[in-house]
Symmetry: C2
Subunit: 199 residues, 2 copies
DNA sequence: GGCTTTTGTCTAACTGGTTAGTAAGTTACC
DNA sequence: GGTAACTTACTAACCAGTTAGACAAAAGCC
């Protein structure tokens, strides 16, 4: 927590973002959260856009670190742990407020190349992670042999994205979405023979 | 096109929304698009929030009319037509600008009950439409008998929502998402026996 | 028909509030 | 004394909503 002021401002940005949402996020909100003046924020970051771009880099680092911690002896376990992390984890993602703000940011992507570039990183990172786990599962025989890891990963990223959106837009239960996706994976990825025991 | 001024303003709102996005949408933008003054907009709609709520009602009506036109002799054809309408139809949905604006609106749902209520209508309408088609397919034997229509519809709505979000946030190809979802439906909904012919 | 009054539609100009960013100066440490 | 870190006070721009009134058509009245 004994960061340099620049990092402290990024952490304050996170808290301010959760409290006010992206649309209503002002430099003053961030400054207040960082216990500094508005001008100090501008001292470290030239513009609001500049600050936010660096904030997304900061988030990306945190997010990839989190996804890297995923463990499990089998691909199936690792995939389950990943779903849990991105769909239900409440301690890692302080919840609805942050997800809402991230959806606001996603909607701003077409207006801001720097944002779109970074959101694409997030998307691709998740895709690659799922594709690799799926490929390992296919190779080990745990997953159905005619599953194409890239196609399955693409589909799952889309569904996870949809779960995030629905959770915000129509206040849909995160748990229920988690269960539906897990069920899909169990039913359609896991190979037939070894799974019969599960039923 | 010879509507009353109130409706003309709603149509102007649609055009202004596509041009400026939701975040940057001002009463002036709408007024300019309607070739009227700012005060005239306020003459017909008390507040911006009021105008936008009525605009969403206007959109809902248009959207449900569109979804009602879906035809097809078999449930499979109807589901295919629905995917095409909600995922690729470019003449019905003037494209990226509008989808982007709608994602911005979705992100505002948690801050505005009137918006959330209406987005839930959209979500539920699509869900029910897919569930009914799926149920008809299961009943006729065209779809796998152990498909639960409600579960499948829920999953598909989530995936469609994800496709919309990814298209905006990471500029993902709509066509590719359409193909992935169609493939899922063909592989996992359609009953085994009658489908062998397709492969 | 001619006259006034009312009503519906609309506008220019203004108000009050907000915001990103800046300029100039202060404090604190080396 | 110089520099890094920081603040107060400001500017310029923007926006939702209001006000006061223009203009025309319709309605009521003689």
């Amino acid at each position: 927590m004994d960061d340099d002021p620049a990092t402290e401002i990024l952490e304050a940005t996170y808290r301010a973002l959760c409290q006010h949402g992206y649309a209503d996020l002002t430099i003053k909100d961030i400054a207040d959260e960082a216990d500094r003046s508005k001008a100090t924020v501008h001292y470290y970051y030239d513009s609001k856009q500049n600050l936010f771009t660096e904030f997304l880099d900061f988030l990306y680092e945190r997010h990839t670190e989190q996804l890297a911690t995923i463990e499990g002896d089998t691909p199936r376990e690792r995939l389950g742990a990943l779903f849990e992390l991105v769909l239900t984890d409440e301690q890692a993602n302080p919840g609805q407020e942050f997800r809402t703000a991230m959806l606001e940011v996603k909607a701003q992507a077409p207006y801001d190349d720097a944002i779109q570039t970074r959101l694409t990183w997030f998307d691709e990172f998740l895709f690659e992670r799922i594709r690799d786990i799926t490929a390992a599962g296919v190779e080990s025989g745990a997953f159905d042999e005619d599953v194409d890891p890239a196609v399955a990963a693409d589909f799952l990223v889309t569904t996870i994205t949809g779960a995030h959106t629905r959770r915000v837009a129509v206040d849909y239960s995160a748990e229920r979405l988690y269960e539906t996706i897990t069920r899909y994976a169990e039913d359609h990825l896991v190979a037939d023979e070894p799974t019969e025991a599960t039923h």
